[in-house]
């Protein structure tokens, strides 16, 4: 078996296992009070972390680039109560335009 297939199998088994732990072991059951209240805060914490990493990280280090313009445009669109679909499109268009007009 080539390296590629070992990586495919290893990554798949690990990911399937990680994703399944909660739903398989705890599916349909109520979480203990304390864990439930912590889990409620998981959404804002992880979503905020995702906004940060997807905006200013290139996977290895901080990277400030045209995505910032897109996310700023998205924030303005949200402020104007635009629907989510439009917010996403605005971000992509603003980023693409910035890249086209000021090629880095």
């Amino acid at each position: 078996m080539s390296d590629a297939w070992v990586v495919v199998a290893g990554a798949a088994l690990a990911t399937i296992g990680i994703k399944a732990v909660g739903p398989v072991l705890l599916g349909g059951r109520r979480l203990p009070e304390r864990l439930a209240s912590a889990v409620q805060l998981l959404a804002p914490a992880v979503l905020a972390a995702l906004v940060v990493t997807q905006t200013v990280s290139d996977g290895r280090s901080l990277a400030i680039d045209e995505r910032i313009v897109g996310v700023a445009a998205a924030a303005v669109a949200l402020r104007l109560r635009a629907p989510v679909l439009l917010v996403v499109v605005v971000a992509a268009v603003a980023t693409a335009l910035t890249r086209a007009l000021w090629p880095g």
Partner: protein, 219 residues
């Protein structure tokens, strides 16, 4: 007027980001081929792992001449956040063990975020609709990338990389109703920002998740 369907709502909620997912599926297919993974292995990986960033990480490690163990470790680190995320969905996910095991695979950041109800619960039908939509976009995108990759451009030219943070920002805002939630978001963002330059990819988000859990226990 068709009757309301959470499944269809979920598919609609990720429609725009589905285009971005497709675009990145294409670039994954392209990168994986150039990393020497052949044409079938990248497609099987997208169909079985279904977690974009971890697949990119594993393929880039191989591309850079890294070991098999390092490639798998990169994928595991990037997907570690799905442990706590899966636990948050668990109480809302009913049905038999096998059905839960299969539906759990549709949990990715985007589907988890759009199906959050705001009270800590999750709409699993919505998650399933969103998940199958993105799964199709990701796998078909990978196939297109492996087959036609070099003929298509870089999705970044179209600004598709900014679609993801924009979606997460849009989904974050409705959660910020209580002071505790705002505080959790600020702590999560600060931990991620601090760790980006020093920690391997994936760790900033896991740390943000764990940091919140610890922070809440102390209060």
């Amino acid at each position: 007027m068709p009757e309301p369907s959470p499944f269809r709502d979920g598919a609609r909620a990720v429609a725009a980001v589905g285009i971005a997912v497709f675009g990145f599926g294409v670039s994954f297919g392209l990168l994986a081929r150039s990393a020497g993974m052949g044409w079938l292995a990248p497609i099987v990986m997208s169909a079985t792992t279904f977690a974009g960033s971890s697949q990119f990480a594993a393929a880039s490690v191989l591309d850079a001449g890294g070991t098999v163990a390092a490639a798998i470790a990169a994928a595991v680190l990037l997907n570690a956040r799905y442990g706590p995320i899966g636990i948050s969905v668990a109480p809302s996910m009913e049905g038999g063990v096998w059905s839960r095991l299969v539906r759990a695979q549709l949990i990715v950041d985007e589907t988890w975020a759009v199906s959050a109800r705001g009270d800590g619960g999750f709409d699993v039908a919505k998650l399933t609709g969103a998940g199958l939509t993105l799964y199709a976009a990701w796998v078909v995108g990978t196939i297109v990338g492996v087959v036609f990759g070099s003929a298509l451009g870089d999705p970044s030219t179209l600004g598709l990389d900014a679609a993801f943070p924009a979606l997460f920002l849009a989904l974050l805002i409705p959660h910020l109703r209580s002071r505790r939630a705002v505080l959790a978001a600020l702590i999560g963002a600060a931990i991620a920002l601090a760790l980006i330059p020093i920690a391997p990819p994936g760790v900033p988000i896991v740390a943000a998740a764990l940091g919140t859990l610890v922070g809440v226990r102390r209060r």
